[in-house]
């Protein structure tokens, strides 16, 4: 956690694990609901102008969420999230895999570990995502064309980040 921003983003040196942390100005019940109820998830999960569409969601161990990220021109990218462990208002784990519209999964996916820390008025959420293959890591952003310009000046910083840890 940095003091300037409640948002933190780290990629480990093998580029296989991505960790994100954020502090929210809401109590744990509200934050937990936002992560575990489909009608709430769909309101924030897709970065605008994309939209999230949950076909079904069964939040219990062994249950699944089958959803799509929909681009402004209507293209759908489907994924399955299978819940592997749930400790209410504390932690849940899932296995995430991209799929076709008929729910046929791709060969490799990622393991997600989501931690929720009750801090009274605020809640800290830490998510770590372990990707099973490097190819998958590259494919993560397929379909998202956020068009960010990169500069050479960031190279040094990038190398330092990758070397740390």
């Amino acid at each position: 956690m940095t003091t300037e921003s409640p948002f933190n983003f780290i990629v480990d040196k093998t580029a296989k694990t991505v960790s994100v942390t954020m502090e929210f100005n809401a109590d744990i019940s509200l934050v937990w609901d936002a992560f575990t109820k489909p009608e709430l998830l769909d309101q924030w999960y897709a970065p605008k102008p994309f939209t999230s569409k949950t076909k079904y969601m069964d939040f219990r161990v062994g249950g699944k969420r089958f959803y799509a990220m929909v681009s402004p021109d209507g293209q759908e990218r489907w994924a399955i999230q299978k819940y592997t462990s749930i400790t209410p208002k504390t932690n849940f784990k899932l296995w995430n895999v991209f799929a076709d519209k008929d729910e046929n999964p791709e060969p490799t996916g990622s393991d997600w570990n989501l931690n929720f820390l009750d801090q009274g008025d605020t809640t800290q959420v830490s998510i770590s995502i372990y990707n099973e293959s490097l190819e998958r890591m590259e494919g993560l952003l397929e379909g998202f064309k956020l068009g960010m310009a990169a500069t050479l000046a960031n190279l040094k910083e990038l190398l330092a980040t990758l070397t740390k840890k």
């Binding site: 948002f7 999960y45 605008k48 490097l134 998202f144 990758l162």
Partner: protein, 106 residues
């Protein structure tokens, strides 16, 4: 076998080689002098880096010099930046949703 840039940076020795040649083009011997390993091992890393198109070779007289393909390096940077941006946007949207939900509760 298909190589990608993430494979290139997944190894500590290869990351060290990248850092070295980012400063200046170097011969394989000069690179190997920086490591406590065999010349063959360094050659293998250089081959992988070349296959990932992260380094380029240039013949200068009798020597081959390796240097960094900055454009390719930028690809990693761009990719990381996009992923970071994705989560930042997502969390900002959640932040807004939570404040709306809080107001509705009152």
């Amino acid at each position: 076998m298909r190589r990608d840039i993430f494979q290139a940076i997944a190894d500590p020795t290869r990351r060290a080689i990248i850092t070295l040649i980012a400063v200046q083009a170097m011969t394989p011997n000069a690179i190997a002098d920086n490591f406590n390993t065999t010349r063959q091992a360094v050659s293998k890393h250089l081959r992988i880096l070349t296959e990932c198109e992260l380094v380029k070779q240039e013949q200068q007289g009798r020597e081959i010099y390796y240097s960094l393909e900055f454009e390719k390096m930028k690809e990693i940077d761009k990719w990381l930046d996009q992923l970071r941006k994705l989560w930042e946007t997502r969390f900002n949207q959640l932040d807004q949703l939570l404040s709306t939900m809080k107001k509705q509760k009152k």
